[in-house]
Amino acid sequence: MASKNRAHVGQYCVACGCCVKVCPIGAISVWKGVKAVVDTLRCVGCGRCANECPAGTIEMIPREVVQ
């Protein structure tokens, strides 16, 4: 995987699904209406979801970091 960063969904997710709509590769989905989950291997780290998120809860973090 070429990208250095990947998206990480924080605790303030309201499961609105705005991030899902903007992800160009469909790497993010809303899990059971509770919170968004990033498919970390597919995420290309473009940051669109983080820019879209109204709750400001998506962070771009280095790939090495395991949360």
Partner: protein
């Protein structure tokens, strides 16, 4: 990169202006709004999670359209306090109190203890004359009273949503929308203690990472 395909439900934003518009001609149309109230809850209760928000909500799409495509939003981060649980649940409780107050007025009108007031109350404070959208009713007066009350709620939430749309992110309203908060709460209760797969561990040996 794949372009996301447009579905019929991606055009539901049109419902918002139609609904608010119809209420300007005949307030009784406000009753249709019960769909926007019951459907999200039913979907969540029967295990559909926040499918309503994620897919069918006209209002969310309306704000996305105005703030996103039409660039009417400053696109500034939503203030932190707005996304806090205190504010979200506080707003939900406030919303419910005002909702029950509206039901109470409806009951008063129904019992004849109060006359029908042909006003739309904006932001729970400002009484806007709305008699021109009332042409009498075939039903009891309380039916019209409920319509005025319900329309007030819908208009108020749209106005607040538009304000935060302009000031912050297009869908900042969704952070504290009472319907969104309630459906997330129901979904959380349904999910219980289970956790989503984050694809960061090696416990399941699936060899492939899957979200959700």
């Amino acid at each position: 990169m794949k372009q996301q395909q447009l579905h019929w439900y991606d055009r539901l934003w049109i419902v918002t202006p139609i609904y608010l518009g119809l209420g300007c001609f005949n307030i009784l149309f406000a009753w249709v709004g019960m769909i926007f109230f019951c459907l999200p809850l039913l979907i969540a209760i029967f295990g559909g999670g926040k499918l309503y928000c994620n897919r069918y909500c006209d209002r969310g799409q309306f704000f996305s359209l105005l703030g996103g495509r039409l660039k009417l939003s400053r696109n500034y981060p939503t203030p932190r306090w707005m996304r806090s649980n205190v504010f979200r649940y506080g707003f939900l409780i406030f919303f419910f109190i005002m909702f029950f107050q509206m039901l109470f007025v409806t009951v008063l009108v129904g019992s004849g203890a109060r006359d029908l007031s042909q006003f739309v109350t904006l932001l729970w404070t400002f009484r806007v004359p709305w008699h021109w959208a009332y042409h009498g009713t075939l039903f009891a007066p309380w039916v019209a009273q409920f319509a005025f009350g319900f329309y007030s709620i819908m208009l108020t939430s749209t106005v607040i949503g538009l304000i935060v749309m302009v000031l912050f992110k297009p869908r900042s309203w969704c952070v504290f929308c009472p319907m969104g908060t309630m459906t997330q709460l129901i979904s959380r209760l349904r999910a219980g203690k289970s956790e989503p797969c984050t694809g960061n561990c090696v416990c399941c040996n699936e060899g492939d990472h899957h979200a959700g």
